[in-house]
Amino acid sequence: MRCGFCLPACPTFKETGVEAESPRGRISLMKAAVDGLMEPNVMFEEQMNHCLGCRACEPACPADVKYGQLIEQAREAVELHTTQHRWWVKGVRKAVFKQLFPHQHRMRLLGAAMNVYKKSGVQTLIRKTNAVGMFSSQLASMERILPDASGKGIVEIMGTRVAAKGEKHGTVGMFRGCLMDVMFTETNRKTVELLSEAGFDVVIPEAQNCCGALHAHSGEKEQAKELAKHNIRAFQEAGVDFIVSNAGGCGAILVEYDHLLHEEPEWHDQAIWFAKRVKDISTILAEKGRPLQYAALPQDQGTARVTYQDSCHLRNVMKGGQAPRQLLQQAAGGAYVEMKDAGSCCGSAGIYNMTQPEMSNQILEHKMENVNAAGVRYVVTSNPGCHLQMKLGIEKHGCSGQMEALHIADFLYDRLVR
């Protein structure tokens, strides 16, 4: 099927208008490589890497083509055969994918190091001397929006169990994530508090690990599978009704663990057990537990307007685009405004904004046009990558004083009436 209905949904096609930069084009390239019609050369690799993986093409596809699976296979094949990566790229990839993400305590060390960096005055020094800017302007921009990282994760702060407040509605397992846990520890804490307020006993299994999303999307599928098995075990032992994620990117691979492990029959039942329990924080608050009460938004000169930037993976893969809007309307009332094209990718896309800064920035610029047109005080997000990207956009547009990017858990928790 090559009807082209996916083309208008694709951010890279929207930016370039070039067929090769569309899902239909990329699939035709994959097929041409398989059929031997063309060599999977460097340009092929680049095109596969140019895809954001936002999967907006999937809900747009009446034929139900599983683009996400196709692009992962293509990237895995590229990763196995590439001659493009130079030795140091391979080194960095190995360090990040194998030595860092899968080890929670190392992530926390990184968080602690970032904290020291920010608080010790090194940051000020680096900024004054523009030391980072000498390497890459993208890195320099990213450096400016570093959140307050922490060496302590959520378990170190709250322990592994937090009891439900009031009547109990069930037990949920909190998926703490690796980046979320050290870079947005407060968001994780507020997520747990919201769940407890809504009547859930919250368990945070200490044995859990990185979700594997970045690995799977970058062609490191075997590593992703190992991480998946590890997590399934950890949450099965915890005996939970639901598994709650507050990062769209993590949630999307968690709900697809059954697909990730589909070639391993001995994991079939456990993977399905896990996948069907995964819910995003917004979805579980909107659909289960006790409805929460929120305080009205202060109307400071009529600028206290709120908009929502979708997490692509929450919207397109977890099909959870409605719940955040429903909650924001409850919490912000008439101050909620839908911005134009809220559902299209912000350009963060995992590590895409580091690996493809040019396209990422172009997409972000168009996104900021829509954010600015909405005239809002808060841009609410559902994923750490989108959160940082929107911070970056706000910083680049010099709006830091008037505008703020927030994770939905932070926004809701701060308005909670207890």
Binding site: R2, F5, P8, A32, N41, P62, A63
Partner: protein, 470 residues
């Protein structure tokens, strides 16, 4: 194609806009038609008419074929570069040059996306009725080249009824202008109409002046559901016979209802053999009266249920879901082959029975949906291209379907065009003299056969099969 020609082409558009790398060639080797693929030698993205003219001069001098295209959504193989050469993508020429609110016309470049154009026009309180199902991505230029139809063809006509004038570039690079903002114009042959639906075989369209009309004041959408597809088809003929022309009158059979609902999650009646999607627009009182009359006719023809969309959003969802029918049928089998045999409106019921009979005869799965109100059905075979024997059976079935359509006073294609796919059957419809005149016209416009060669005219026509009746 030698490097000198490439050098000349790069000189016209700049290095960035002429490509001959493997990736560009592969991604311009196909269109929406299944099972067809052929690599071009280069891909070019012109910015304006002057560039198109300069490109054509180079190609003409070196006798290199050209296929012009928009988004490549067509279903007749119309933009597959079977003879190689250069593919010209019109996406960069996507401006709305002018909206003339005094004359109610719009002048556009060919690369603008149809839906974007329609949204812009509707924002100005005006109406451009042609609405091909692919309008979210198809271009106006492509719509004109293929003379696209859509869901509103029944009452409002198709693309040809809304093109007043064209600017185009001929095979030798000369620029031709036809028509204008005129509602009446009989100065010579109607070259505008001749170019519409000429499938890129006569000239490259570079600008179009389109007719706009005032939008209807009110609109109502309803569904009529049937346990018997013949009853649904009979209703279509009966509505027309009762002198009611709805804005939209679409039919979907059971497998189509199922796949569309699987995609759009609308809660369509999965137990029904067929549904009719009917929309009427116009003055509020007339809309009410017509919808009431149509409901009566549906009941007389044994509709099991009738429901009227309560909100404009619900109506829009139904129409959008219907637009996805062809693509959604791909959920059933790996390959989906759609045709668009068309019959006079009074023959719809007979044609539906014929299609079912032919499907059974050849043992193929054919789902039927389409613009029943204008007689334009889309019998769609769901098959598997890897099973050659089955594909042959599908081809035989379609041959029978074209035969039946012509026998009932219809045609081999209502809105998709001839392209490569229908070329062997064109003579069935237009006859020997028809082919001769058309070939002479082609010769007059494009003596060296450079513009979209291999389309419309087949090397030889399919032998007419005699159907045994009874």
């Amino acid at each position: 194609m030698d490097s000198n020609v490439k050098h000349l082409l790069r000189g016209i558009v700049g290095d960035a806009y002429f490509k001959d790398d493997a990736q560009s060639l592969v991604t311009h080797s196909y269109d929406g038609t299944p099972m067809l693929q052929s690599l071009p030698d280069g891909v070019i993205y012109p910015r304006n008419t002057a560039e198109v003219s300069a490109i054509m001069k180079v190609l003409h001098e070196h006798r290199i074929p050209l296929v012009s295209r928009g988004s490549g959504t067509n279903l007749c193989g119309g933009t597959v570069p079977v003879h190689g050469g250069v593919v010209m993508v019109m996406h960069r020429m996507n401006a709305i040059v002018e909206v003339d609110t005094q004359n109610l016309t719009a002048t556009v470049q060919p690369g603008i996306i149809t839906k974007q154009f329609i949204e812009h026009i509707e924002g100005l309180g005006l109406f451009y009725p042609p609405d091909p199902s692919s309008m979210a991505i198809s271009t106006i230029g492509g719509n004109i080249a293929e003379c696209s139809g859509g869901l509103r063809g029944l009452k409002y006509g198709t693309t040809k009824d809304y093109v007043l004038g064209l600017e185009c570039v001929l095979a030798d690079g000369q620029i031709l202008r036809t028509g204008g903002k005129l509602m009446k114009d009989v100065a010579g042959y109607d070259l505008t109409k001749l170019l519409i639906g000429s499938e890129g075989t006569l000239a490259v369209i570079t600008e179009a002046t389109l007719k706009l009309i005032p939008p209807p004041k009110a609109k109502k959408t309803m569904l009529a559901m049937y346990t018997d597809i013949y009853g649904a088809a009979r209703t279509v003929s009966s509505i027309i016979e009762n002198r009611i022309i709805p804005a939209t009158l679409e039919i979907m059979d059971n497998p189509t209802i199922r796949v569309v609902d699987d995609f759009a999650k609308l809660g369509l009646p999965l137990d029904m053999a067929a549904i009719l999607l009917i929309e009427q627009d116009g003055e509020p009182e007339m809309v009410e009266r017509d919808i009431a009359k149509i409901s009566g006719i549906c009941r007389e023809e044994q509709a099991a249920r009738i429901s009227i969309a309560e909100t404009p959003e619900e109506a829009l969802k139904l129409l959008t879901a219907r637009r996805s029918a062809f693509t959604a049928l791909a959920r059933l089998r790996p390959t989906t082959i759609l045709e668009d045999a068309t019959v006079p409106r009074s023959k719809i019921a007979e044609m539906v029975l014929e299609i079912n009979r032919i499907a059974e005869k050849h043992n193929v799965q054919i789902c039927t949906f389409g613009h029943a109100g204008d007689g334009n059905l889309h019998p769609t075979a769901t098959t598997d291209a890897r099973d050659l024997e089955e594909v042959h059976r599908v081809e035989a079935a379609f041959e029978d379907i074209f035969e039946a359509a012509i026998r009932l006073g219809g045609t081999i294609t209502g809105e998709h065009g001839v392209g490569m796919v229908k070329a062997p059957y064109l003579e069935w419809k237009v006859g020997g003299p028809g082919i001769q005149v058309m070939e002479a016209i082609k010769e007059a416009f494009d003596p060296h056969n450079l513009l979209n060669p291999g389309k419309m005219f087949a090397k030889e026509s399919r032998r007419r099969v005699v159907i045994e009746r009874g």
